[in-house]
Amino acid sequence: MPPSRDDLEISDDASLLRVLLAKWITMKGGRQRPTSDSLLDTNFENSCFVEGEITIIEIQSLFPGLSIARLRAGLIRREGFAIERRPEEAPLRCSNPAAHVVIGPVVPLDRGSYERVARTIVKDLSVAILHPPAAENY
């Protein structure tokens, strides 16, 4: 289900952390960035965590070996996505389920527009990729 509301107590300055599958990282123009696939959940609900409400170390321990994209909440909203808390969908061992959110358009987009919006977000130069500790990078 797409987000039904935008939880505005998550400020535009907050950062959202999106766990990336290995195939969701590409090199474009000499820069690593997430692929648009990382933000194209078929049901318009892309899982993220609010940075500061859960530590990066904990996310890395929940998802060993996977990289993480850091996305500004303001960027997400600028492109028309909403941010909704979904604590009930957090991983079981997550210490703060309230840190789990989904991002996506409130009204489902056509698939072509969805691709364009996702691509605009991941191409933004503010998007950073945090790689897992070297020993766990496989």
């Binding site: 599958l21 195939k23 692929t35 959940d41 899982s47 998802f63 789990h100 691509r119 191409k123």
Partner: protein, 151 residues
């Protein structure tokens, strides 16, 4: 009228010349030999189907049967041999994507759980054109990769 008893088949399996089945196998081998990307693409798809699982906090990576079938149909219709190996990736919610890249050009196909497929022609990381893949017109399925492969 429906027969009440089964009669002997016109041809038993032993009567079917082995040549025909061998020819079919040879035909497949020839296709794979002339389109080296196909092995990798099919192997990646198979791996995604086998590894598909729900990962709470990341997404649902169980590839929908119809999305996988659409991808295989797409592969079978793209008879462009001189292509790089595509990257076949899962998309949360049962979809998958297939991306060919050459220089600044990219041809992307997205296969969805409802059986629909979209193509995207991208240049310099911008989407130039998108549209629905029309499987009734095989030429249209390969148009994006043909465009990408042009110098």
């Amino acid at each position: 009228m429906t027969p009440l008893t089964a009669s002997a088949p016109a041809l038993s399996s032993a009567d079917v010349p082995k040549f025909y089945t061998q020819a079919a196998q040879l035909e497949k081998m020839t296709l794979a030999d002339s389109a080296p990307w196909l092995y990798s693409a099919l192997a990646q798809l198979w791996e995604l189907e086998q590894a598909g699982a729900i990962l709470p906090g990341v997404g649902d990576f169980r590839i929908a049967d119809r999305a996988a079938m659409t991808a295989r149909l797409l592969f079978s219709l793209i008879n462009v041999t001189d292509l790089p190996v595509p990257i076949v990736s899962p998309v949360s919610g049962g979809s998958l994507s297939i991306v060919w890249s050459m220089g600044s050009k990219e041809a992307k196909f997205a296969c969805y759980p409802d059986g629909q497929a979209l193509y995207f022609r991208c240049l310099d990381d911008e989407v130039l054109e998108d549209g629905t893949v029309d499987f009734i017109k095989p030429d249209s399925t390969r148009a994006a990769v043909t465009w990408m492969a042009q110098p």
